[in-house]
Amino acid sequence: MSPVLELTGITKRFGTLLANDGIDLTLGRGEVLALLGENGAGKTTLMSILFGHYVADAGTVRAFGQVLPPGDPKAAIAAGIGMVHQHFTLASNLSVLDNVTIGTEPLSAWRSRRGAARRRLVELAERFGLPVDPDRRVGELSVGERQRVEILKSLYRDARILILDEPTAVLTPQESERLFSTLRGMARQGLSLIFISHKLHEVVAHADRVAVLRGGRLVAERPAAGASRAELAELMVGRRVVHASRVPLEPGGSLLRLDGVRVEAGGRRLLDDIALDLREREVLGIVGVAGNGQDALSRLFAGTAPQPTGRIELLGRPVARLDHDALAEAGLAHIPEDRHHEGVVGDLRLYENAVLERIRDRRFSRLGLLRRQAALDHAAGLIRMFDIRGAEPTTRTRLLSGGNMQKLILGRNLVEQPRLIVASQPTRGLDEGAVAEIHRRLLEARGNGAGVLLISEDLDEIFRLADRVQVIFKGRLSAPLPIEAASEARLGLMMAGEDGDAPRAA
């Protein structure tokens, strides 16, 4: 049987970076292909070329036997290729129907054929098992529902090849299961699917075939059935990744205690009745689906959230306000969720970012002037100690890769030997090697007596690091579970708010 999609010799350079290097790939009718690779392996570049967002330097894309003109998304759509981006391109103020029909009618028409469009959308939604109300405003939909709208958008344009970029990144485990069973159903109806992922378990469980990309090259192709996760991991990273393992430690005294803490902003309750107790020598995991209050919780410890009400104890002493001074006095280290916007200032040089948080420290300033040499030395020390690669103290920080930027943020905090660390999504978007390094550092800090509050959406990370875990859902925290008592299934239900027992009663 001839393939529905055929990529031959795709090569793409960005400056000196070879993002795609002579990639050949085919996709059969009704097949589910997983494209596995780390960040920067070239997965998204390859799919962008396929969809016409980028023009390849060499190579051709054939869909249903026809060569696609390069750099023309319209031609890709017309050829039956649909793309579901990781960051949805939906307008939240407009209805589902508006979002789906945009661009499907000639702009010169004097009226839209809304009735026919609605019927067609409802019919597609039923046929492929993607229930959604055409008249709801997209802003009111859950993330899972928005993803359905994105998929329907492609199906509405008669897509027969569907590409999904990290489709499960924003879903709970249960939502992911549901998504994959829907995708299976589509494949049975003759659609061909490619999904991009770096999660080994979903690749092995849900794909027919796996293609592994590394450093811009296709390094392996395997039938998914019977593929070994360990082998795939090694193919993806290019070497064996050694994960630090958590050794049981006896927790010490309380470092951070919250009781009945509530945060409100603009009349909305962001955090409600929060209770947690973080002790020395432990990692307390806070897990939940994005948008359930993690942001407010994390900002609480950056001093940028609205002032909370409730009881707060830092290092065993009650504090009235969690403002910058109180946090600094407690020596709290904060790893923000968004490293580009909150973690570093991209346009400043590495040494400037290294001392930015301690600019009033005598070590780095004198009479209001920056002690440049001291800062440079400090930065050089961080680069050495925390293995920040491809950088000098005077490198512009925006030029660092995500992993090295995160090592800088972690390093400048850990070098002060904090007793209390609040880390929000510390490894999001990092490759396996960097993830292992960050995890090792956090566990090392725990071993040295620090307490780590780890806010994460990644269950694997929670299971790897946390001693105890609490689930955050709609601004409320569940009671803590010892990690031994938590299973992926149970946490998944709690993250979806479906486990009635677990969240604390109101």
């Binding site: 967002h53 319209k74 759509i77 307008a91 407009l94 508006d98 945009i102 661009g103 702009l107 028409a109």
Partner: protein, 313 residues
């Protein structure tokens, strides 16, 4: 209190309200179309001035009235094209560009006017649009003079409300314009050019603003004065927010403003001893109050004032 009823029961009050609202209806719709596509056009004050000047000057130089309106529209559209080139193509700050456009257009209009009309006693006059006589309706007692003795431009303004509403809510082009103002990425991903949409919306909107300005010199009055727009453009910008970016509510807002304005004009002679400037402030104060009350829950176009640069996230 009796003065109040004397004012609002007079047919002339209602006629004046709609007449005063007419330039605002054009201006507000023009600003609204641009903002729906994601571009704020603070050039409005200058564009209305240019419309007022070019419309009047064309007629003064011998053109028929409707040709004058067309010239004003083209002049406005051309200035709009400049605004679009700077804000859409080059992605410059919409605030700064808009204010620059206003300063530029006001000065250019005054300069051109002076080239043709040397300073002398009172400014020359043209024969402006006459009220359209509607069979039966215009002759009704009270109702006729109150509501049915307007010039063609006022009726055109009301028709434009319907047309813009239809465009935005009922046509694929309108959906594309709204999408460009909400999520330009979504537009572009479906092969619809954000650049063309925004440019088109700004140019068309600017043409409407200019017609609003031309109404002042070819229908409401019969000559051109410097600074005759008197902040009406800024009022339109506020009315767009008041209207939550909806043409129907824009009409409502413009009418309310027209009523305030007509009311204060009639109140001035009745309350001696109060400086008339205080009365002039009244409609503005009321607009601010209305803005505070109405617009807090408005759904602002999400991509308003955000330049779209392809390939960036």
């Amino acid at each position: 209190m009796t003065e109040f009823w004397d004012i609002v029961l007079a047919a002339s009050f209602w006629a004046a309200a709609l007449r005063l609202a007419t330039p605002l209806i054009f201006g507000t719709l023009g600003a609204l179309i641009g903002e729906r596509s994601g571009v704020l056009n603070l050039g409005i004050e200058g564009i209305m001035t240019a419309g007022a000047m070019t419309g009047w000057l064309s007629v003064h130089l011998g053109a028929p009235l409707w040709l004058g309106i067309a010239v004003a529209a083209v002049a406005g559209g051309t200035i709009g094209l400049l605004h679009a080139a700077l804000t859409v193509r080059l992605g410059l700050s919409q605030h700064v560009t808009g204010l620059g456009i206003t300063l530029f257009s006001v000065s250019l209009s005054s300069y051109l006017y002076r080239l043709y009309v040397p300073a002398s006693g009172s400014p020359p006059k043209i024969t402006p649009f006459a009220p359209v006589h509607l069979p039966v309706l215009s002759d009704l007692p009270w109702l006729g003079p109150a509501f049915f003795q307007h010039t063609a431009l006022t009726w055109l303004a009301l028709l434009t409300v319907l047309l813009v509403a239809w465009l935005l809510w009922r046509t694929p082009l309108g959906l594309a314009i709204r999408m460009a103002g909400e999520s330009p990425e979504a537009c572009e991903a479906q092969g619809v050019s954000v650049f063309s949409l925004r440019t088109g919306a700004v140019v068309a909107g600017s043409a409407l603003m200019a017609i609003g300005g031309a109404f002042l010199t070819t229908a409401a009055f019969d000559s051109f004065y410097f600074s005759m727009i008197q902040g009406r453009g800024w009022v339109c910008i506020a009315l767009v927010v008041f209207a939550s970016w909806q043409p129907g509510k824009a009409l409502l807002g413009a009418l309310l403003y027209g009523m305030f304005d007509a009311f204060q004009l009639r109140l001035q002679p009745l309350v001696p001893g109060v400086p008339y400037q205080l009365f002039l402030m009244m409609p503005y104060l009321l607009s601010i109050a209305a803005l505070v009350l109405v617009s807090r829950r408005a759904r602002v176009p999400q991509a308003l004032m955000q330049p779209y640069r392809p390939g960036e996230r």
